[in-house]
């Protein structure tokens, strides 16, 4: 008797697991999984705004969840796919591998991996050439540093973060070839106190221009810059001038809402084919947002120089990445 009820229970569970295949939902449903809090005023906040715009502009039913660990991330992807979502955004490079595993079981769901690596079946990457904007930010830092030392605080050593750092360094060297660069990885995207201590350590060693790619943990970088004299800071992934209006020179922006809209619109209209969608300065999705309050400090001719570099990058005549980026 007991054995029989267990078998029955197991059959029920199997049936539940297969349900979406049996009765596919016709509604246009879009989900977002972020690796951290959407209150980070940057990477995750932009994605959340993107999701809201997909809801408002395309009338999609939307859902969002935070998933911090690899196990949670894979489970979240699987769960949305099982519920019949049309598009699932895995917001970051770290979602590439779990999405490839999950997608084999759910061929009808399109998994969009922001900063992803490659196309694999129905897993498609959005590639952001953030280094095109961090190059421009680096040029400003190279021109504005007094000590000749610039620093970068990264959450983890992920390929998109390294690319952003590379662009920053190359841009600074283009203006000031002898510039010294520092980099610290926090191993966290949440711990703002860690971000602050890392930034303070750099400031003690003479760094006076700070850039980051550490989401919420980077709030500590801004906090450190705010309380240290003569330190300027550069935002990442969103326009972060408001965090420290008298300290933020510019931000390397990824216009995530625009990118999200572009890809989901194609899916909704049935014109989507799996391909790598790559965004740079040319597309307008990647741009440098300048804080006008600090523009008076720019040395003469810098504005024109940055504009010229921006035009060359957009035209494809100035390459800013070490390796080929699609």
């Amino acid at each position: 008797m007991i054995t029989r009820s267990w078998v029955f229970l197991a059959l029920c569970l199997c049936a539940c697991g297969k349900q979406p295949d049996a009765a596919p939902s016709t509604a246009f449903k879009v989900a977002l999984i972020t690796p951290g809090s959407v209150t980070d005023a940057a990477w995750n906040a932009g994605a959340y705004q993107g999701l809201q715009q997909v809801k408002d502009s395309l009338g999609a039913a939307v859902s969002h969840i935070e998933a911090h660990t690899p196990a949670e991330q894979e489970e979240a992807l699987r769960s949305y796919a099982r519920q019949g979502y049309t598009v699932v955004f895995g917001h970051g490079y770290e979602f590439q591998q779990p999405a490839e595993r999950v997608s084999q079981d759910y061929p009808k769901t399109i998994f969009v991996i922001t900063s992803g690596k490659r196309v694999s079946g129905n897993v498609v990457p959005l590639v952001f050439r953030i280094h095109e904007a961090t190059y421009l930010a680096g040029m400003l830092a190279g021109a504005l540093t007094h000590s000749g030392k610039i620093g970068f605080v990264g959450g983890m050593e992920l390929p998109p973060i390294k690319l952003g750092y590379d662009g920053w360094v190359r841009g600074a060297r283009a203006v000031r070839p002898d510039v010294e660069t520092r980099i610290t990885y926090l191993n966290t995207f949440d711990d703002a106190a860690a971000g602050k201590e890392a930034a303070l350590a750099m400031i003690r060693l003479g760094v006076d221009q700070l850039h980051h790619n550490a989401d919420a943990a980077a709030l500590g970088v801004f906090s450190a810059a705010k309380e240290s004299a003569n330190v300027l800071v550069y935002g990442a992934n969103g326009d972060q001038s408001a965090l420290a209006p008298d300290r933020v020179v510019a931000s390397a922006v990824v216009d995530l809402p625009r990118a999200f809209l572009l890809v989901t619109r194609d899916v909704k209209h049935g014109t989507f084919t799996p391909h790598t969608e790559s965004f740079g300065l040319q597309s307008g999705v990647i741009r440098l947002a300048v804080n006008p309050a600090l523009q008076a400090r720019w040395p003469a001719g810098l504005k024109e120089r940055v504009q010229a570099a921006s035009d060359s990058i957009a035209a494809g005549t100035l390459k800013v990445a070490a390796q080929a980026v699609p």
């Binding site: 809090s37 209150t39 959340y48 990885y185 966290t188 201590e197």
Partner: protein, 304 residues
């Protein structure tokens, strides 16, 4: 490379980083001495951080400090009700507290500040330079040019020592941690004593969260405690369950953390993961070599 001013900056950073760890760990020392291990202090610290940010945004730093301590107390009171009152396994109860606080503070933060976050506009506690003491070379800037909460941390060391080892309540508390049945037959109200100890620990964890927000970053972010509560529990063992040892262990851990940022900022070809692991490796080494034979309270973790 490492000249005088950088050594001073490093030492001050060690104390600054060690402050929340030390405050939380001394609180947990009192809890563990009573025979309770509270893994929920990570959650209490996070609740304290949220309370501090919400309180400071609403009514300034004093309200922030009070709200943070109260938030820590609430989490500890829930833990005490479940683990001491209902005698649920302490490890499970503590883990549940931490998971619950992580989820709820995230939810509340989004309700209070929306998706834009708390920003950096909160009022914060400034560094206070103590007269005379602050002028001593090296030691002055290291120990006596810190925030008020670090000074509160200094005071908690002798207060906890006195409470544990020089009062009747402390004797009863330690008896509950060593032999609760014997203590009960001698007339000690074990559940009551353990509840009070847990609440004291919760207030300290809340204060540790306050120091992260109001004395360090000046904002609240979800999961911002980043495992400091669990590190504090390790520090209790590292410090041999004595407030002075625990304070020293917190300083050691703070120093190792400050050192790894300094190493990374100086620049080297060593993989950063090794630097990030440095404080933990050091703690492990000290635990194995120096305090290997020290034992904790005999009835630690046992419900009564």
């Amino acid at each position: 490379m490492i000249d005088g001013t950088i050594a001073v900056a490093f030492a001050a950073a060690a104390v600054r980083v060690g402050t929340p760890l030390g405050i939380a760990a001394i609180g947990e020392t009192v809890v563990e001495r009573s025979g309770v291990i509270n893994l929920g202090i990570e959650g209490a610290m996070l609740a304290g951080a949220f309370g501090a940010a919400a309180g400071a945004a609403e009514g300034g730093v004093v309200v922030g400090v009070a709200a943070g301590v109260v938030a820590g107390l609430i989490v500890a009171a829930l833990f005490a009700a479940i683990a001491v009152g209902a005698r649920v396994d302490q490890i499970i109860a503590g883990t549940a507290m931490t998971l619950g606080a992580t989820g709820l503070t995230g939810l509340f933060a989004q309700r209070v500040w929306g998706t834009t976050g708390a920003g950096l506009s909160l009022p914060t506690l400034q560094t206070v330079r103590l007269p005379l003491l602050g002028s001593i070379p090296f030691v002055g800037p290291m120990l006596f040019r810190q925030s008020v909460l670090t000074y509160a941390g200094y005071l908690i060391i002798p207060i906890a020592t006195w409470l544990l080892f020089h009062t009747r309540f402390g004797l009863e508390l330690r008896a509950c941690g060593e032999a609760p049945t014997a203590a009960a037959s001698a007339g000690v109200r074990v559940a009551r004593t353990r509840t009070i100890a847990t609440l004291l620990g919760g207030a300290c964890a809340g204060l540790a969260g306050v120091s992260l927000v109001l004395a360090q970053v000046g904002t609240f972010t979800e999961r911002m405690t980043g495992g400091r509560g669990f590190i504090a529990i390790a520090i209790v063992a590292l410090g041999g369950w004595h407030p002075r040892g625990v304070a020293a262990a917190a300083l050691l851990f703070g120093g190792a953390t400050a050192l790894q940022y300094m190493f990374q900022a100086v620049g080297s070809r060593v993989p950063y993961q090794l630097f990030v692991a440095l404080p933990y490796l050091l703690a492990l080494a000290v635990l194995a070599v120096a305090v290997g034979r020290r034992r904790g309270p005999a009835a630690l973790g046992q419900p009564h």
